[in-house]
């Protein structure tokens, strides 16, 4: 990877806003504008605006688009209504995870996947390989470059969007999407997110991204905080949402990751047999939530210890809403029960920790 990082259409806005930029999945992305903690808290208390245009969009369109989607996707495509969104995995025959994605059902012959930026090329190659093997007829269209994606997240997100919708806006329910218009621009409003808060993920044409961003900033004023990937990570970690490359990868499967509820057994997706066996026999390792004692952060790669090393932290941070260090990690299944007391090796020292229920954060309403 010698290529210079790519930029989203909103790059200039991030620089203008004084963002600290960092390379993520080959893109030069805003990591933090002022403070990760402040941005995180704004999303929990009012609203945050994220540029996640690095994410990829791949459309399947044609007579057998749904059949191909169902071969690729672990969740139930047929049970997804038109206008519905589902989370699921793309798996290999052995159950290993190619990517974790959301599926948007647009019609009877059309879906699109929102995929991780780092996996756009490998997902496309995998989809084409599966298409070649199955002979299922549809076009596989990579729309990632032409598509901007903003995430408007937080308790006031819907109101802010409504203020730009000029009265006639459809409000999709959770896990639904609708074509709409914001500030006079055509958008796809998806009532989904990666923060644990209500809100929208807003798909727009790349050439409209700046106008959309500006309009949202204007209507939101001080009550809408631009938020970077730093806050996106602390928010998703508090919700124990997996991040590909950390909790998910080709050498891990969704049963180990505790994602069985996104496996529609019986639908004939690739990896189903292997995952059914893993489900029946019980996995050797499991992904768990951990609460380390004290204030040191148990970070990705740190060992989880009982007598010996029994696992590895995959994500660890300080949770600004739970106000303590939190971590996710894989460990030997016999230690995975909630309440199990273990240790994490933190830079040569052993820090006590306990297996806990996830999500770490839940809204008390």
């Amino acid at each position: 990877m010698t290529d210079a990082p790519r930029r989203t259409p909103l790059y200039a806005r991030h620089i203008d806003a004084g963002a600290r930029m960092a390379e993520f999945a080959g893109y030069d992305m805003p990591l933090v504008y002022s403070s990760i903690i402040a941005e995180h808290r704004a999303v929990r208390s009012s609203a945050g605006l994220f540029d996640v245009s690095h994410m990829g969009e791949v459309r399947l369109r044609g007579p057998q688009a749904l059949e191909l989607a169902q071969r690729l996707f672990t969740n139930d495509v047929a049970a997804t209504p038109i206008g519905g969104v589902r989370y699921g995995l793309l798996c290999l025959e052995d159950g290993g995870v190619v990517d974790d994605v959301t599926l948007y059902r647009c019609g009877d012959e059309e879906v699109f996947f929102c995929v991780n930026a780092a996996n756009i090329e490998t997902d496309l190659a995998w989809m084409r390989e599966v298409q070649q093997k199955t002979g299922l007829r549809c076009d596989i269209i990579d729309e990632s470059e032409q598509t901007a994606l903003l995430a408007l997240q937080g308790p006031t997100a819907l109101k802010l969007a409504e203020a730009l919708g000029r009265g006639h806006m459809p409000v999709p329910r959770r896990w639904r999407f609708a074509e709409s218009e914001l500030a006079g621009l055509p958008v796809l409003l998806s009532r989904t997110g990666y923060t644990g808060e209500d809100g929208y993920e807003i798909y727009a044409r790349a050439e409209h991204a700046l106008r959309l961003w500006d309009a949202l900033r204007e209507v939101g004023g001080d009550a809408l905080q631009p938020a970077g990937l730093g806050a996106r990570d602390t928010l998703r970690t508090e919700m124990a949402y997996p991040l590909y490359g950390h909790e998910l990868e080709r050498g891990l499967n969704p049963v180990e990751a505790g994602l069985e509820r996104f496996l529609a057994f019986g639908r004939g997706f690739i990896g189903e047999d292997a995952l059914q066996r893993a489900h029946a026999s019980g996995p050797a390792q499991r992904l768990v939530g951990l609460l380390p004692e004290g204030r040191q952060v148990a970070r990705s790669g740190y060992p989880i210890l009982a007598e010996d090393r029994i696992g590895t932290i995959t994500s660890g941070t300080y949770g600004p809403s739970v106000e303590r260090p939190i971590a996710l990690g894989y460990l030997a299944a016999r230690y995975a029960a909630v309440g199990t007391r273990l240790e994490v090796g933190v830079r040569g020292r052993k820090v006590p920790c306990e297996v806990t229920q996830t999500p770490f954060f839940s809204r008390k309403s």
Binding site: D3, A4, P5, R6, R7, T8, P9, Y11, A12, I15, G18, R20, D28, L31, V32, S35, I36, I37, A206, E207, L210, G230, D233, T234, R295, Q296, V297, R299, T317, Y318, P320, R347
Partner: protein, 149 residues
């Protein structure tokens, strides 16, 4: 390195270097600690550049008073949301004070790095050693050099 710019943007010069406060009454180590002598005790903290790079400091692990430190050796740790970082002694000496308020308020290092974000006080073995550290001008150039990489 040239960026693979979106065709909408041609302006490479958008990459403006952030400006950092560099306190004139301090000397600086190459690991971004400042040191300021007051009588026989030198207070040590993290520069504005360092706190900005780390962002969101959530924990400062402090040494004990009476610890002997060697120049260039670690004396403590700062944890931010995104990274953990060692703190290095700019000069050799004995730690004669530690800023215990940081246990409750680690964010002071971000908010006021040269003031109430101070971390330790050292009684230097050799007061002249401080003069061998980077001057504010040198340190400014050193930051610029690194941010252009």
């Amino acid at each position: 390195m040239r960026s693979h710019a979106n065709p909408i943007f041609q302006q490479e010069e958008l990459m403006t270097a952030k400006t950092y406060h560099i306190s004139d009454d301090c000397r600086y180590g190459r690991t971004d600690e400042w040191i300021r002598l007051d009588g026989t005790v030198a207070r040590v903290g993290l520069s504005d550049y360092a706190q900005s790079e780390l962002s969101d400091i959530v924990f400062v692990e402090l040494p004990s008073v009476g610890t002997q430190v060697e120049a260039g050796e670690p004396f403590g740790v700062v944890e931010s949301v995104k990274a953990v970082s060692d703190l290095f002694a700019p000069v050799s000496g004995e730690i004669v004070e530690v800023h215990e308020n940081l246990e409750e308020h680690p964010e002071w290092v971000n908010e006021d790095p040269y003031g109430r974000g101070w971390i330790i006080g050292i009684a230097p073995e050799d007061l002249d050693a401080i003069d061998g550290l980077l001057t504010p001008e040198d340190y400014r150039a050193y930051i610029k050099e690194r941010s252009e990489k």
